[in-house]
C-alpha cells in the first residue's frame, strides 16, 4: 500500500500500548514528531538565548529575529494589549512552523496534516479568546455580533451571520491548516508516484513538478504557520479591542 498517497498520513503505534483507564494514549509516530518538533524548538532557541553578546552569532540572531518577528506581528495586528499573550502565540507559531517543516523531510510524519491536532489547537484558541473577551468586556462582548451602522431591518440577519462566522472560526482555522498540509503532501506523493510509474522515459516531467512542488510546499509550510498565528492575533484583537 506504499503507493497510496494517503498512506503517509497513517498513525501507528511506536513501542508498547499505553492505556489510561480504557483510553488508548500510546506513543505514536505523530507523538514522536510532536516531541521532535518541540525539542528542536527548545534546543535551537535555548542555544540562541544562551549567549549574551552584543553582536549575535547565527543562532542568537535567528532566535532574536524570530522573537522580533512575532512581536511585530502581534503588535501590528492586536496592539499593545496583546503583549501578555506573546509567549503563547510565539509557541503556537513555532510549533506549527516546525511541525510543518519537519513534515517536509521525506518519510517524516506531518503532525499538522491531522484534523484532530489542528482542531484541538484552534478550539483551544477559540475558547481562550472567547473567555478573554468575556472577561475584558463582560456581556458587552456580545456587541461583537452587532456591527454598528447597520439598518435595523438587516440587523437580525447580520447578527445571525456574525454568530455563524464567529462559531465557524475554529473550524475554518483548523481546516485551513490541515487541508493545506494534507493536499500538499498528497500531491507530492502523487507526483512522486508518477515518477516511478512513468519510468525513465516519462518520469522527468512529474519529477520536475515534484521539485517545484517541494519549493511551493516549503513556502506553504511557512505561510500556513504564519496565517495560523496571525489569525489567532486577529481573533485576540477582536477580544481585546472591541471595535464593532
Amino acid at each position: 500500500m506504499a503507493s497510496n498517497p494517503m498512506y503517509q498520513f497513517n498513525v501507528y503505534r511506536i513501542g508498547p500500548e499505553i492505556k489510561l483507564g480504557s483510553v488508548d494514549i500510546s506513543f505514536t509516530n505523530a507523538s514522536l514528531f510532536m516531541v521532535i518538533s518541540s525539542l528542536a524548538i527548545l534546543i535551537i532557541f535555548n542555544l540562541g538565548a544562551k549567549k549574551k553578546t552584543l553582536i549575535p552569532d547565527k543562532l542568537q540572531l535567528l532566535s532574536e529575529l524570530s522573537y522580533s518577528f512575532v512581536a511585530k506581528m502581534i503588535s501590528d495586528t492586536a496592539g499593545s494589549k496583546a503583549k501578555p499573550y506573546f509567549s503563547f502565540i510565539f509557541s503556537l507559531f513555532m510549533f506549527v512552523l516546525f511541525c510543518n517543516m519537519f513534515g517536509m523531510i521525506p518519510y517524516a510524519f506531518t503532525v499538522t496534516s491531522h484534523i484532530i491536532v489542528t482542531f484541538v489547537l484552534a478550539a483551544f484558541i477559540f475558547v481562550g479568546v472567547t473567555i478573554i473577551g468575556f472577561i475584558k468586556h463582560g456581556l458587552g462582548y456580545l456587541k461583537l455580533f452587532v456591527p454598528s451602522g447597520v439598518p435595523m431591518v438587516l440587523l437580525p440577519l447580520i447578527v445571525v451571520i456574525e454568530i455563524i462566522s464567529y462559531l465557524s472560526r475554529p473550524i475554518s482555522l483548523s481546516v485551513r491548516l490541515f487541508a493545506n498540509m494534507m493536499a500538499g503532501h498528497t500531491m507530492m506523493k502523487v507526483f512522486g508516484g508518477f515518477v516511478i510509474s512513468l519510468g525513465i522515459v516519462g518520469g522527468w516531467l512529474p519529477l520536475s513538478f515534484s521539485v517545484a512542488l517541494t519549493g511551493l510546499e516549503i513556502l506553504v509550510a511557512f505561510l500556513q504557520a504564519y496565517v495560523f498565528a496571525i489569525l489567532t492575533c486577529i481573533y485576540l484583537n477582536d477580544a481585546l479591542n472591541l471595535h464593532h
Binding site: F45, E64, V190
Partner: protein, 195 residues
C-alpha cells in the same frame, strides 16, 4: 514532439485517476478516530511543555538580550554624544585661549612699544632741555664775556694809559677823562674793524 507530449499527458491522467481511486479506497487516515485521544494527549503534553519552557526560561532571556542590547546601544550613543559635546567644548575653550593669548600678546607688545616710545620721548625732551639750557648758559656766558670784555679792556686801557701818563708827565690825570678818551678810541677802533 507534440504527439509525444499529448500521449504523455494522457498516460499521466490515467495514472492520476488510478492513484486517486486507490486513495479513496483507503480513505483518509485523519478521520480514523483510533488514535485521536492519543494525539490530543501528546499534543497537550508536548505543546504544554514547549509553552511553559519557552515562557519561563527562553523567551525572557531573549527579551533580556534584546533589551540589554538596545539599552547598551543607546547608552553608547549617549556617551558618544556627550564626548562629542565635551570635545567641542574643549575645542571652543582652546580657540578662546588662543584668541585671548593672541590679544594679550598684542597688548603686551603695544604696551611695551608705547612705554619704550614714551621713555625715548621723555629722555629726548630731557636731553633737549638740558642741551638748550646748556646752550643758553654758554651763549649768555659768551655774550656776557663779550660785553664785559669791552668794558674790561677799556678799564685796563684806561688804567694803563693813566699809569703811562703818570710815568710820562708825573702828574695825576683825571681818570674819568682818560676813560672817556679810551672809550672814544675803542669806538673808533671798533668802527674801523667793522669797516
Amino acid at each position: 514532439m507534440l504527439k509525444k507530449i499529448v500521449i504523455l499527458l494522457f498516460i499521466t491522467c490515467i495514472a492520476c485517476f488510478n492513484t486517486v481511486f486507490a486513495a479513496e479506497s483507503g480513505g483518509m487516515p485523519q478521520l480514523n478516530p483510533e488514535f485521536w485521544i492519543s494525539q490530543i494527549f501528546w499534543l497537550i503534553i508536548t505543546f504544554g511543555i514547549l509553552f511553559i519552557v519557552l515562557t519561563k526560561v527562553i523567551l525572557p532571556k531573549i527579551s533580556d538580550n534584546l533589551e540589554t542590547r538596545k539599552s547598551q546601544i543607546l547608552e553608547n550613543i549617549e556617551i558618544a554624544d556627550r564626548q562629542k559635546e565635551e570635545s567641542q567644548k574643549k575645542i571652543d575653550e582652546y580657540e578662546k585661549i588662543i584668541l585671548d593669548s593672541k590679544v594679550k600678546a598684542k597688548n603686551y607688545f603695544n604696551d611695551a612699544r608705547e612705554k619704550i616710545l614714551d621713555d625715548i620721548n621723555k629722555k629726548r625732551t630731557a636731553l633737549e632741555k638740558d642741551l638748550d639750557e646748556e646752550i643758553g648758559g654758554v651763549e649768555k656766558e659768551l655774550s656776557d664775556l663779550k660785553n664785559k670784555s669791552g668794558e674790561k679792556i677799556n678799564k685796563i686801557a684806561a688804567e694803563t694809559s693813566a699809569e703811562l701818563i703818570k710815568e710820562l708827565i708825573g702828574e695825576e690825570v683825571n681818570s674819568s677823562s682818560i676813560a672817556a678818551i679810551v672809550e672814544d678810541q675803542s669806538k673808533i677802533n671798533k668802527e674801523r674793524k667793522d669797516v
